[in-house]
Symmetry: C2
């Protein structure tokens, strides 16, 4: 898989998390910050490689193989994020961009060893679950802060928006994981 293909697979996976069966060309173009025509081209390539199911005008969804690939890339991305925060003292708003690059490094041994070095973490610095080698990951009961009752109690376990600006906003108000 090329880096671009990996990025598309990941994009489709993320859009599918909303429970969507089929992802539209336009939605994917939005996610990938590219043009719908480019998406159509790429989808055809992915379809030929058996990573997605695609019928013209009907949208796209990942095959089992594609889902597995997506989870592998996400595993790598999130492990690198943990590494950057735990070992190199990056802050949680700095890690995404670098992890976007590191996630494409090809070496199973590298990732397995990194996983061990970090003591096999279950969640990344934004509270998102890290899939294991088989693609399994822990889920947690989560409620949006906006749906919590006034004077209610809870523990911050993740952020929905992991943009640098929002994370800095949280820092300013001393909100952090845990």
């Amino acid at each position: 898989m090329t880096q671009s293909e990996e990025n598309y697979i990941k994009g489709i996976y993320h859009l599918s998390q909303g429970g969507k069966m089929s992802i539209s060309t336009n939605a994917l173009a939005g996610q990938m910050e590219t043009k719908p025509s480019s998406v159509t081209d790429m989808i055809k390539r992915l379809s030929e490689k058996g990573l997605v199911h695609y019928k013209k005008y009907q949208g796209v969804h990942l095959t089992e193989k594609g889902t597995h690939q997506a989870l592998t890339v996400i595993r790598k991305h999130r492990l690198w994020e943990v590494f950057l925060v735990e070992k190199l003292d990056f802050t949680w708003d700095e890690v995404h961009e670098v992890a976007e690059q590191l996630e494409h490094i090809e070496s199973e041994k590298l990732i397995d060893r990194l996983d061990d070095l970090l003591d096999n973490p279950d969640f990344d610095p934004h509270g998102d679950p890290i899939p294991d080698k088989q693609g399994r990951f822990k889920t947690r009961e989560k409620k949006l802060l906006s749906t919590m009752p006034v004077s209610g109690h809870g523990i911050c376990v993740g952020v929905k928006d992991s943009s640098s600006s929002f994370l800095k906003f949280l820092d300013k108000h001393h909100i952090e994981l845990g």
Copy 2:
């Protein structure tokens, strides 16, 4: 710089270490494991970017800017090699391939922090010097083992051939750095 451009710059730098002023198209094609015509194309691009001096049929050599870029990539490559050996328990014959990928990650902060994490090493797992941020590096007096007198004394400080097969051969005969 693209990854391919970085690889060419690095290739030119390595060939220049033999004391060569001007690197021939064929020599570079050999180093890069590509065709001379591809080299000519790439050299033109690098020349337009001010990374190399080039006159048709006259060979190529790095500009000051090009040399600096080469040293940056080499610094990254060798720091990652140290990381792989020291933190992830890779053996010295396993690191090259992965470091070839990691050297292209773009993040100055990442490299500086990695340098600190590794206690600012001066040499990589093959005994090659690691340039600092300014491109400076330590040199050491070295003699080829083949030029040493029988019963002479010395300390192994590096290998000339860092192919996996040769490094494994050294392991078998219990020859290692230091």
